[in-house]
Symmetry: C2
Subunit: 193 residues, 2 copies
């Protein structure tokens, strides 16, 4: 999808699997195979209609619908994510912020009032939150995730370096920045040897 | 490593593969297999010495050495990452900040002066930077990555949603937050159907 949006920006009407593969860093047969799961979308010898394929993939990813996000933990990472332009651009709308710090609770940021984490369930329901972003301290993260899953939140993006233990119908994506750096560090050591 | 550090915090002297597997969200045979690559570390029927295994893995990951990081792009994400406590805690030290905004260049944050992105090569050399964190706009990210790789930076953590095209000896880890949300969005659609 990102490649296709780039192709649109470049004014391309048609793109073939070789072109997509180059942009995405993979190979053309893989692109054709992956896209074949979505149906017969391309024209042999020509390629894919950029606009049609963009619309099709967006729809399959559920990108047509606006998704409402809550951010739990409004420290440095939480506030950076709240202000991060990239989310809104893709239809993800941060509608709620939760924290336990009395100095933060009750303050308003870009029209969103910080609520106390004790009110998590109420806030998630009131605001029809579908995705919870966790930037909470490790010690409390599992409990908060469980509480969210127990109401209706079925998707969690977790920045806390702790594995969440949730029912199978809750999708979790883990972003662990320290682990990313450790992988790079391993590469540096390995390379030097 | 994260699990072992937790185990240390819990005062455990010994941990077996079942315990590590539970903490890490995998199974015990997998833990034993993975750890066997590091040599014969555990005692059959007893488990692993927590301190010894922690030290061993840390050393293999190159965690004994302090790693010097530069952050290019000092917007919201860049400044959040600079202030992120989790990095320093793991021995990653942010020693340089680069941006092109004249209002930011020359200002000092926690002892680090923001330098102009045009000076990238000089800054990376002067500060002995090993890892470059990119939170730059998409349009300029590839070029900056190439310039860094052309000097001596062999590890890049890229937050910009663009694939970097770099020599094979440069390790790149990509953190794409919008893609993470799109994966969650796909799960929500798929589930609803």
């Amino acid at each position: 999808l990102r490649c296709l949006i780039q192709a649109q920006a470049l004014g391309m009407a048609v793109i073939n699997s070789v072109g997509i593969a180059e942009m995405a860093g993979t190979n053309a047969p893989q692109v054709r195979k992956d896209l074949s799961y979505l149906g017969e979308l391309g024209t042999r010898g020509v390629g894919y209609d950029v606009d049609a394929l963009t619309a099709h993939i967006s729809e399959r990813l559920g990108m047509g619908t606006e998704r409402r996000i809550a951010i739990a933990g409004f420290g440095r990472m939480g506030s950076a994510l709240f202000s991060y332009g990239g989310f809104a651009q893709h239809g993800f709308l941060a509608v709620a912020i939760l924290d336990s710090d009395p100095e933060k609770v009750g303050t308003t940021v870009d029209g969103v009032t910080v609520r106390h984490i004790d009110e998590l369930e109420d806030v998630l329901s009131e605001e029809n939150v579908e995705i919870l972003v966790l930037t909470t301290p490790v010690e409390v993260t599992r409990e908060i995730a469980k509480r969210a899953a127990a109401v209706h939140v079925k998707a969690i993006l977790n920045f806390a370096p702790v594995r969440l233990d949730l029912p199978a119908d809750v999708a979790v994506r883990q972003v662990d920045l320290s682990t990313e750096l450790q992988v790079l560090s391993f590469h540096l050591v390995h390379r030097a040897r």
